[in-house]
Homo-oligomer: 356 residues x 2
């Protein structure tokens, strides 16, 4: 939080209102549901954490770097914040995220006294670099995820339903200490594998189907994200060739992902491989994204990205090709950016074929 | 969607911009990630669904009630929407939810041509009443959830870690066809059970601990939500007495939850039981909430609620008492409001004691 305050002067603010639940979690270590916690960080003095009765006792015990105020039944949370801003004589306050209705309410109440300034990127300046404590948790999440993927290779058989595969993966991750999943597990088989975000249905997996499995464990609120593509049964020549290109694309990207590299150039290094294979039109998404408390964080790795990689970024590298009417192939790992290169945090084979 | 248009005239709009991913899902049946899909519904003519390349092919196959437009690399999604609004001569457009930054952008671009009006409650007028198709899916989600809770009774033993209990519950639900969990499973044991949203940690459950288990399966994007409180081993007299009061409170609420009832009176019927037991100060949250595509929907059941129950509402009824330093007890079921009473969709015993 003191690191955040270092940005106050440069940003022309002397206070910051945290509304996003992941920013709240980052600063306090306390998880509230969306919209149920607000953190007011003044330049001078202690941060105030406003929560409802349902979270009050837990927050008093668990929330760090702040004192906790309860929003009582019938009290107006915005009103309380406005009063505190005035009391502290905050003349210019930044915020991470407000919906338009709340913005108008606060702005009206503060008019002539305090300026309300959108600063959506401020907290990312901190969150984008993972410190050693965070990396410990992210390594653990990645390790559990790799074990979950191993379970997929162990159990996948033609005749299984997609959700049955998810059952085994998630069970394996939970048994190894997962606190939950980073996102809804994707097991997209057959023609559905050509849809990058295919979720998980009751479709029965058939012999020869491509099966894109995209899964992540959480550990103490930090997330991992890993994809492999398997074939139920014997892969075809074409499937094998496509996989090879996607794996080569990932390898090229991992090689180029070092501190100081432009994110769009890392994306380009993978896209170039796919292009040479004549598959460019089928690579329909960016190469990857930052990951941490949220599954999609900055930096963005895409042709349009203006980001530059820094040591301590944790990102995914996930090239994929999706051919409608044929199927899709994606491989993805979580990668820590270091000064001299990238370190893979998730691990596992790339083989399409399942050992039977 | 045609039902939504019936509200346009009354709301003084001739178009509606859907930004919230659950509203998008409701109208199109297509699930996009937060912020990745926008649906423009004009009074006259077909709705336009704007998605990125990553979702384009899937949306073309799966999205109903709309035509699909791709937002190409480098294109500005807001710009496309503004152009379409002008092309269709929409003079006043409602929206469900916009963050303040996007609001300013759209408002500036539309100035003098089209009014942008926040209508956050409009879609709830439809979503709050579940039709027969939705109820089929909600019944299935509730049934799977009840089976998951049964698994908790079967496996819970002193010495297990909280996440190990979650593993068994989620596995049981997945095996019965769950598409995922409605929210992060709560297994909060010992003193942590006094924290209503206690998540799930690596704490080892001890003999005599209260264990609050709050879990929900999803089925085809519809959600359930169910809580039971168990004791690992032999419950104490005090634990038993507290449970009885909470169960009585739930029964009173279920009895009063009929179409036409004021939500705050249903809350009061449960709160009254808890009050008579001298436990009122420990009931630190509202009685329940609507549930459907999201886990927390209107109507709200709380002392401050202005809602009135209607036939076709699906809600949770979940009284609880949380005594810091002792533990917490909550029971929760999903309930369908009918003209003449409430129908429980989740089912299971209330016993604290586990059969061993």
């Amino acid at each position: 939080m003191s690191l955040l305050k270092d940005f106050f002067l440069r940003s022309g603010i002397n206070g910051f209102l945290v509304m996003n639940e992941f920013n709240v979690l980052y600063f306090t270590g306390f998880r509230v549901e969306h919209g149920r916690g607000r953190l007011l960080i003044p330049m001078d003095g202690e941060a105030a954490f406003y929560v409802y009765g349902v979270d009050y006792e837990a927050a008093k015990v668990e929330a760090k770097n702040c004192y906790v105020e309860v929003i009582k039944r019938g009290e107006d949370a915005n009103r309380k914040i406005v009063e505190r801003i005035m009391q502290l004589n905050i003349k210019s306050i930044g915020f991470d995220s407000l919906n338009s209705i709340t913005y108008f309410k606060l702005n009206r109440a503060l008019r002539g006294f305090c300026k309300l300034k959108p600063k959506p990127k401020l907290t990312w300046k901190l969150r984008i670099i993972k410190d050693e404590d965070e990396l410990l948790l992210m390594r653990k999440a990645a390790e559990i995820t790799s074990e979950g993927m191993k379970a997929a290779y162990d159990v996948l058989k033609p005749g299984m339903k997609e959700y049955e595969v998810a059952a085994e993966i998630e069970y394996a991750m939970r048994k190894r200490g997962s606190w939950g999943t980073s996102f809804e597990t994707i097991v997209a088989s057959g023609l559905r594998s050509a849809f990058p975000h295919g979720w998980c249905t009751d479709r029965k997996i058939e012999e020869g189907d491509l099966v894109v499995i995209d899964v992540g464990a959480t550990y103490r609120f930090y997330r991992a994200d890993m994809t492999r593509t398997l074939v139920a049964g014997e892969p075809s020549k074409k499937q094998e060739l496509m996989l090879q290109e996607v794996v080569k694309a990932q390898e090229a990207a991992v090689k180029s992902a070092i501190a100081g590299a432009k994110a769009k150039e890392v994306d380009a290094s993978a896209r170039e491989v796919i292009k040479r294979a004549g598959l460019e039109e089928y690579f329909v998404h960016g190469l990857g994204h930052g990951i941490g408390l949220e599954v999609h964080e900055p930096p963005a790795l895409s042709p349009e990205s203006k980001d530059r990689l820094k040591a301590g970024n944790v990102i995914t590298i996930e090239p994929g090709v999706y051919v409608v009417g044929f199927g899709g192939i994606r491989v993805e790992d979580v990668v820590l950016i270091r000064k001299k290169g990238a370190e893979l945090l998730t691990h596992g084979p790339y083989a399409l074929r399942i050992q039977t």
